[in-house]
């Protein structure tokens, strides 16, 4: 690892689908606990933005973004660019997707470590109704920032094995993956994992790691490897379901939340081979814990109806609201307002201090012309000045809650309130901004910001 891991953070969407609901609706399957579900206005890009924002303190500009997902919002267009824009990084630097398979997670981590920059691991996991992927999957994101400085963990060893075998696959356009008989995958994975882990531990000179994370889309392979390579400290894995590319990131974040300096971590990602990494926590970890620990992100979810989940994922074609769909965002104006639309940057009048979102050239207060400086508000808290619940508006999940938000230090905008029910919003309610997808029309995702109750 050429660059040091400096900070990390995770993101878990607020909604939870209780597995008992699956059994109730489908007559079989189900199980205990619940999985995390990205809201209808979230995707791998928006969740990635939230993890990345949490991982970076304001003003830090990583030179590269390596974005890994199995659920890219776009093909043939880089998704990491929206993350780059949302982080207000200007036009400098590199942004790339590792989109398609779970192993992209390791690719993003190793790429960001090599070049310096941000690894963003974000995923939505879906499957056919009643499938194990639906039941056992989860949606989440994690981000890791590499750069010059004191590392929070040191990499003691990195090894890999690779094999071509038919365990999971999905052809482009399909929404669910195919899987071979489970026992076959378990047999195929076992030697690949053993080889990578054995070599990694030997190279690191570690006999029993303090913490072990085994992440794989193959549940049986995970169970076997976890049994074989037990850590000294039992893992407190976030119980939100297997989160694809985000899974190793989320679980590494959970370990980093509580690891002590000097302790070792074995991170095993088994996907079409195996990547084993041995890490050792350094004293800097004590000063670089994520702003919100994973345990806090996992707790306090909102229960979701199975029918709503199916609707959000496009698996239940419900009657739409009787309103015209909004127009798709147009390319040229979206580029002209890139820093506004993606990074919530307004303008502040140099003459009188009035804040304008979106930016204006003529001050609404003192009418000064073209005397504006940037006013970046994406991290600015605000309060609700007035609000409404729009039961007529077009939305995949009505009703839409709208609030007029006054930002601390100036600026006002009317924003949809995400992840809330009408009784949670009133005049004076404190809110903060979240990057979301307002709607998708004509194949174009309309990314913008919403308010969430703080």
């Amino acid at each position: 690892m050429a660059h040091a891991l400096l900070s990390y953070a995770a993101y878990v969407p607020r909604h939870r689908l209780g597995r008992a609901q699956l059994a109730a609706a489908l007559g079989s399957g189900g199980g205990k606990g619940s999985r995390a579900v990205a809201s209808y206005d979230e995707d791998s890009t928006t969740m990635g933005v939230e993890a990345a924002r949490a991982a970076l303190t304001d003003g830090i500009k990583p030179p590269a973004i390596h974005f890994a997902t199995t659920a890219p919002a776009y093909f043939d267009k880089t998704n990491a660019t929206a993350i780059h824009a949302a982080l207000d990084l200007g036009h400098e630097g590199f942004a790339v997707d590792l989109a398609g398979s779970v192993r992209g997670a390791v690719g993003a981590l190793r790429g960001a470590a090599a070049s310096g920059g941000l690894a963003v691991l974000s995923d939505l996991r879906t499957g056919r109704p009643g499938s194990a992927d639906e039941r056992d999957g989860g949606d989440a994101a994690a981000a890791f920032h590499f750069g010059e400085g004191e590392p929070i963990v040191a990499v003691l060893a990195e090894t890999s094995t690779t094999a071509e075998f038919l365990d999971r696959w999905r052809t482009p356009g399909d929404f669910a993956s195919g899987q071979w008989e489970e026992r076959f995958g378990a047999e195929a994975y076992a030697p690949l994992i053993d080889d990578a882990v054995t070599r990694a531990l030997a190279a690191a000179g570690v006999e029993q790691p303090d913490h072990v994370i085994v992440s794989s889309p193959h549940a049986r392979a995970v169970a076997a490897a976890t049994k074989r390579y037990a850590g000294r400290v039992p893992e407190e894995a976030p119980a939100i379901g297997y989160a694809g590319t985000a899974d190793p990131g989320l679980r590494l974040a959970a370990v980093l939340d509580r690891v002590r300096p000097g302790e070792t971590i074995l991170l095993v990602v088994a996907a079409d081979g195996c990547d084993a990494t041995v890490l050792e926590a350094r004293p800097a970890i004590e000063r670089a814990r994520a702003p919100k620990p994973v345990s806090q992100l996992v707790a306090g979810g909102r229960d979701l109806l199975y029918a709503t989940y199916l609707t959000w994922r496009g698996l239940l074609d419900r009657e739409p609201p009787r309103r015209p769909e909004p127009g798709r965002p147009a390319g040229p104006p979206s580029l002209r307002s890139e820093s506004w639309k993606f990074a919530f940057v307004g303008s502040r009048c140099e003459a009188c201090g009035q804040v304008h979102v979106p930016p204006r050239r003529v001050c609404v207060n003192c009418r000064a012309v073209d005397r504006m400086e940037r006013a970046a508000l994406s991290r600015q808290p605000g309060t609700v000045a007035t609000f409404t619940v729009d039961r007529l508006a077009f939305s995949p999940s009505p009703p839409v809650i709208d609030a007029v938000v006054d930002f601390d230090g100036g600026g006002r905008y009317t924003l949809e309130v995400a992840d809330a029910s009408p009784d949670e919003v009133e005049i004076g309610t404190p809110v903060e901004l979240a990057f979301r997808r307002l709607y998708t029309t004509g194949g174009v995702h309309n990314y913008f910001w919403k308010a969430t109750v703080a």
Partner: protein
């Protein structure tokens, strides 16, 4: 800023207005012919051939002057199409009046039309300009935008939300009572307050369907001539005292200084219009007001913006019946947007049509006793970002 006005320089000598409603069997062309022919039939002294120029207002039912010249078969005359959102009909009237006052023409017609019910949707359908997808209007509907007034008003003036809701209900109830007396209105039934209350909250915020104006098709028109010529065409013309249209910086939605309990544009247009007309005490001098009751809280706020109520008191005045047909200042005696309906481009002229009938003593069951001055108010846009139009008309010069 000079706003000299054209007080008593032009007069309306004929008007027409279709019934407003869901005219499944009539297109915009039919509605235009209906309103215009009705007007000419009632004004035999001013035949179509003598009209020098036309102004057509429509928000969304077509573009250019041909929207009017084609169905009417106008013989190569000036036709101007104007648009100013929900104040479109008023804007057509204003520009037509100015043309006569300027001396450019002697006899002109202002026409407004809207065909809303061909879209397949129950509410207004916007035609959005291509944008970056961040404008709240992209998703926030009109009733939702106006419902923002309700909690803000209650909070600012400490009004019990229940009392505010009662006042909103009274606005809807009153305007339906009035509309029930109007053969041209879209909804001609009184609605019990309990029924209005029962539907509250089903559309946006605390607004129900009964808090929203009627979405309808319709057309209306006015013949305008020089004031000195007015009596050549009718024995009972009405005279234009003031015309004001105001657009602000549309800063409400981005300026924390705006508190969602007023329309600054409406206040400014009222001030301008009162100055043009020489009105100093609108509460006493205005005999009737047709205001833009697009949603019930809008009418309440407008009562304060027009100076008909003290700040924070409109809800109380409304509940006390001040603006009922028999109240101290009848507001929306024809039923308003609420029950007459709101075919956008026609609404401003429809408001003038009620003044026309009232001043001529032709308002039937709604007839007021000796009205002197009438005010029409049109709002185009949303709280914090709108245009406001006001006209003041009177039965007499001077």
């Amino acid at each position: 800023m000079a706003s000299n006005g054209i007080k008593d320089r032009v007069a309306i000598v004929g008007m027409g207005c279709t019934t407003f409603g869901e005219h499944w069997n009539r297109g915009a062309d039919d509605l235009l012919v209906d309103a215009v022919e009705q007007c000419f039939a009632a004004t035999p002294a001013l035949p179509k051939e003598e009209v020098d120029a036309y102004w057509l207002g429509t928000m969304n039912s077509g573009q250019s002057g041909t929207v009017l010249s084609k169905p009417l078969g106008i013989d190569y005359k000036p036709v101007t199409r104007v648009e100013n959102m929900c104040a479109t009909g008023s804007e057509a009237f204003r520009n037509a009046c100015y043309a006569v006052a300027a001396g450019a023409y002697d006899r002109v017609m202002a026409v407004g039309v809207e065909k809303l019910k061909d879209t397949g949707y129950s509410g207004l359908v916007r035609s959005n300009v291509a944008g970056d997808g961040t404008a709240p209007e992209e998703t926030l509907t009109a009733p939702a935008a106006f419902s923002l007034l309700d909690p803000a008003y209650c909070r600012k003036y400490g009004v019990d939300p229940r009392a505010m809701r009662d006042a909103m209900t009274h606005v809807a109830w009153k305007n339906h009572v009035n509309g029930a007396k109007n053969e041209r209105a879209q909804f001609r039934k009184e609605v019990p307050k309990e029924k209005i209350d029962a539907g509250a909250g089903r559309v946006a915020g605390r607004l129900g369907v009964m808090d929203c104006s009627g979405v309808s098709d319709g057309a209306a028109c006015a013949l305008i001539v020089r004031a000195e010529d007015a009596y050549r065409y009718t024995d009972r013309p009405i005279f234009v005292k003031a015309l004001s249209v105001i657009a602000g910086p549309a800063s409400g939605p981005i300026d924390p200084g705006y508190d969602y309990t007023t329309f600054h544009e409406a206040v400014a247009s009222a001030k301008d219009a009162y100055a043009q007309a020489g009105i100093t005490d609108p509460r006493r001098e205005i005999s009737l007001a047709e205001v833009h009751d697009c949603f019930t809280p809008t009418e309440l706020v407008l009562m304060e913006d027009m100076g008909f109520s003290e700040r924070g008191q409109a809800w109380r005045d409304e509940l006390e019946g001040a603006f009922d047909l028999g109240g101290r200042l009848p507001v929306n005696p024809d039923g308003g947007l609420k029950s007459f309906g709101h075919p956008v481009g026609a609404s401003g002229l429809r408001m003038l049509f009620e003044c026309w009938l009232q001043f001529r003593g032709e308002a039937g069951e709604r007839q007021l006793d000796d009205p002197r001055l009438g005010l029409t108010h049109n709002l185009g846009g949303r709280p914090g970002t709108c245009v406001s139009f006001i006209s003041i008309v009177g039965a007499r010069q001077g």
